[in-house]
Symmetry: C4
Subunit: 362 residues, 4 copies
């Protein structure tokens, strides 16, 4: 299977954004709105943050034979792209996360499987993607959280990603697909359901909601860290003080993310928050970046600002919606090719060698 | 009564701005223009000043059980929203200020009743809103000003707000509704009328107008301060030197406001002026903010820049125009919910604990 | 005569810009293009330079009874507006400069009559405008320049304004009206004609053109200064070093101007150049500002940045084109009223007392 | 031959950009897209970089009799414009590079002939353009590179320009014209073909491509420098460290260029990169600028930021496409005239005397 197979890739798709039109034409409008939507200012900011940066080319550098390899937790990745955890992928394509996993595997990319996947983690793991990581949503009962960890260990996941951004989110996007979801997510069968909450004029506000009471705190993370030998990453870190605290607690990696600009508007752009977090980490653990990447040169910009690897969310999902596994592979191939072009431009043959000096500054 | 009552809230109203379309459809064009209008650059600036700020989220913070309470002049408010003084509300809805007061009361919000209300202050006070404050326009005769103060004291107002911004304003907005107003405002029956003034080519300019001669000055404020035991606030403060002078005079609070961008164009945005005023006050008296807030996260931004509470003007008036008291309550409910979401995002469970650190800075 | 006379002022004209639509409807398209045109970036910059500034209001200030008077070269002006020198005004209205002079006189405004006026200076002077200044274009023969000076002295002009900006300008605007002009301008009858120049591929460029050879230099200015007792101002100063040199030479005043953005594109905005020029002059001679003012608050901004008075060009010409003298008076009345409103806002009752402190700065 | 000849120049063409509409109407859409296209952000940036600069005029300066002459490698040019190396000009006009050479010759402009010209270098040289430089693409075999150098020497080229920007470029533009090109470029008959490369999902990425393996490096430049007595310039320098290294190696000149924004998007604008490169060179060798100039005042801005001369690419090609040699001459005439106007404005009669002081800075 390959993105180069003629049929699944629509004619004229030359970059990741070209998939959007096709996805919009194919998806139900509510599903498309759920996938493509976000808080307007932050959504735009996630892209404009890249557009404010400029590459400063070098000439005559010896980059031939370079590559984009990066090692993460003992695994050597051919390139720094991993599929971001996106739930409910069966809304986009009948094969959902299985297709994503196969597309990633075809391109040697890693994948972070979501707690809210349309398929069970065990089924995703069977698709052969490597490395496979598991994104964990904290469950109301510790034994359920632990059960998820054990399953991730059992299927050979190479890392756990605990999502710790906004513990209670505006419903604007999730309600678009509410009626299309199974009553119980595939991975959570038999577990205690998460509390539901809708703010009512007479009732408690979000700060008093049971959702917030059930949200994890630093001591929960400390407990979780002690339960598993898998590397544990926190996803949603944007403040350098949180990064420092995570390091002090022994966390194994951080993912800078604003949840795809899907929470409160005017949240800082992921890329703008990256440098301070990376500076706080100072190379002691891997820092991954998640936030609007849709072309390979943006990955290089994220690298210049401190990212060790990057997650691909919507950009892969549009292709999944249209073309399944070959679509996902095709997008990853595009990103990688664009990344290598950009590396050649700035005279940098090795991914991890790219630093702030490749960016122009006045 | 509640904003959640199905009928009065139009379908699809999800945020304060959603009320605008409905209000525009229902109101007479001149009344809508009077309500929605303003000096173009400053009006835009009042909103853009928020859009230039970004929230910097924190993770894993212990915010469950937090709340938005704030104490002002001995009253404990459930949240920091008060209805701003807006005159002539009967142009918007037959129940006018009475409906606003009932909507505020339903949500536990305070209200600042305007001198130019469509109803008498006594009638507004009877609606049970708490705290009720009274906005005072300086009257040509001191005894009339004093009479207004005594009435405010008599009905149990908890504070007086003296509006001290532009003493003479461009007529562009007020003339839209001139023909619809009673000859004598309800609260001013029996008092000396304010002088009228229209600049004519052959005549005196605004600086020579009787309106300006009748405008209050610092010594008038000192006199007023001595007439009442009620807390006295000045509304319209934008310069830190004025804030310092007000403190030296013993004023009890300040409201940073540019009169809703309804005076001279290119007046500074309220939010841009807030930090310097708050720094000058340094916590000695409450600083309130008034200037374009239409979602709850903006209130949090104003708090981060020094506001102790915020006034809601147009955002509540659009809902009043469409749905009366339930509309006003609904908007306040939205704002409060959005505020709590934003507080959860930045890991801040208490309103007054939010400081500049919740904003991203390069 | 007054702008308040009902008939000459079109309904709905509330600010200077409102005249533009009416002028465009009435004027020949080539004449309108000549009047309204300019180098695109600088034209926009002249306006945006104001839009980047914000007024910082003061409250409770004692401004009643203030005024906008300013003394210039022994004349007390009721307000700081003078009509800028604009040539060929008979293209706009049959009474041309005579109507402008009458409109200015009605409002107590000064006027700078242009060398290239449609009427002779003597006829303009007969209209009773005061003070009347004369704008001088350097003539190929010194005796012709001197003859113009003598005529200005004879009719009671109170100052001379030598235009010293771009000595050779792009023809884009002037060629729009070339066919409509008299062979010899009214004021230049009997004088040596200025050389003409069109750059041709095979021929000399602008630097080698006879126009440039005939342009005045610093020693010409020194000569001119010695020929007359009238105050001599230079118009077109944008560089502080030129301002210093002019002072050293004994010049009596400077006009910061980029010729209405009518020369080379990307010339700096007049307002952006003003502060450095004013700083170099340091109050030793009057500094006037010319550059896009179309509302009274902009005059106040120019004052805050160092201008002692301001020239009104296009803003008055649109009204002239539509309504003759009453139109010109109406625009001046609007500007003055807006200026006084803005002065009241910033708590400044005297024109010359307005300094940089009335502008907001971060 | 002259741009002033009535027939070849379309009516209404007043500036270089006016040619674009005519060129678009005449050219095949693919050829137009190839010529006009570029990476969107950088393409816009190349223009916006000029639009962020402002000229600061001087008055009364003695610029009459000035000129725009500049000496480069022993040749005295009447003005600082050279035609940039653009390949495949026969796609634009049947006479291609021959017409460009004749147009440049008519205006006394220099020309850099491209390796990928539609005509052989010998034929271009026969058109009498002076100085003629040769743009060299590094060939897979050193002997072929050397053969090109020898031919350039033989026809009297006065300098060699080695293009060293992106060694491997995105195919978006080149594939628009792929089917229209001869199998072997005119100048490369008998030489080893360059390797071809298309990234395929299963295959090597750009960093592993044979194209990159064949790209020149610093030691190749050192070798080339030793093979010829002609001045050798590097084209594509954007980083000051590369400029320093080139000087250390004995290079004779540098051309700051981002290849017309035709490579990776978000490459820095040429003009933004110019000052640091010029500062690194510090006048030791000529620095030329290439990057979006389409009016003469932009050349002056580039001069103020450090350029000794400038290359004209697309601006001349649009005119070539429409009107052949007279079109090229016409554009050069426009640019020169505009340049001299701008020099007169800033009071600078000599090209090389224009420094940073002619630009406004806050």
């Amino acid at each position: 299977m390959s993105g180069a197979a003629a049929s699944p890739i629509p004619a004229g798709v030359r970059c990741a954004d070209d998939w959007i039109t096709h996805a919009r034409a194919r998806l139900d409008p509510d599903v498309y709105a759920w996938l493509a939507g976000g808080a307007a200012r932050t959504f735009l900011d996630n892209r404009m943050a890249f557009d404010r940066r400029r590459l400063l080319p070098r000439m005559l550098a010896d980059v031939a034979g370079g590559d984009t390899r990066v090692e993460l937790f003992g695994d050597l990745l051919a390139h720094p792209f991993l599929l971001a955890p996106v739930g409910h992928q069966t809304l986009l394509h009948p094969e959902g996360e299985l297709a994503s996993a196969r597309g990633a595997a075809a391109m040697g990319a890693g994948m972070v499987a979501a707690t809210l996947s349309g398929f069970r983690l065990e089924d995703i793991a069977a698709c052969g993607v490597a490395p496979l990581w598991f994104q964990l949503y904290w469950q109301p009962r510790r034994e359920d959280t632990l059960a998820l960890v054990r399953r991730a260990e059992a299927v050979g996941c190479r890392a756990l990603v605990l999502t710790v951004d906004l513990p209670i989110a505006p419903p604007q996007l999730s309600e678009r697909i509410a009626g299309r979801l199974p009553r119980i997510p595939a991975n959570l069968a038999g577990m205690a359901p998460s509390p539901s909450f809708t703010a009512m004029p007479g009732g408690p506000g979000p700060l008093q909601s049971p959702l917030l009471a059930a949200a994890p705190r630093w001591d929960d993370v400390a407990w979780l860290e002690a339960q598993t030998r898998l590397p544990l990453l926190l996803k949603g870190v944007l403040h350098p003080d949180d990064a420092r605290r995570a390091l002090a607690l022994g966390l194994d990696g951080l993912i800078v993310s604003n949840h795809g600009a899907r929470t409160v508007d005017r949240t800082v752009a992921s890329l703008d928050a990256l440098p301070a977090v990376a500076a706080a980490v100072a190379g002691r653990v891997p820092v991954l970046f998640d936030g609007g990447i849709h072309d390979g040169s943006e990955a290089l910009i994220a690298r210049a600002l401190g990212a060790d690897a990057v997650l691909i969310g919507r950009a892969a999902m549009y292709a999944l919606a249209v073309a399944g596994a070959p679509g996902v592979a095709h997008v990853l191939h595009l990103l990688r090719t664009e990344l290598e072009m950009a590396m050649a431009l700035v005279g940098c043959g090795r991914w991890l060698e790219a630093g702030p000096g490749i960016l122009f500054s006045d």
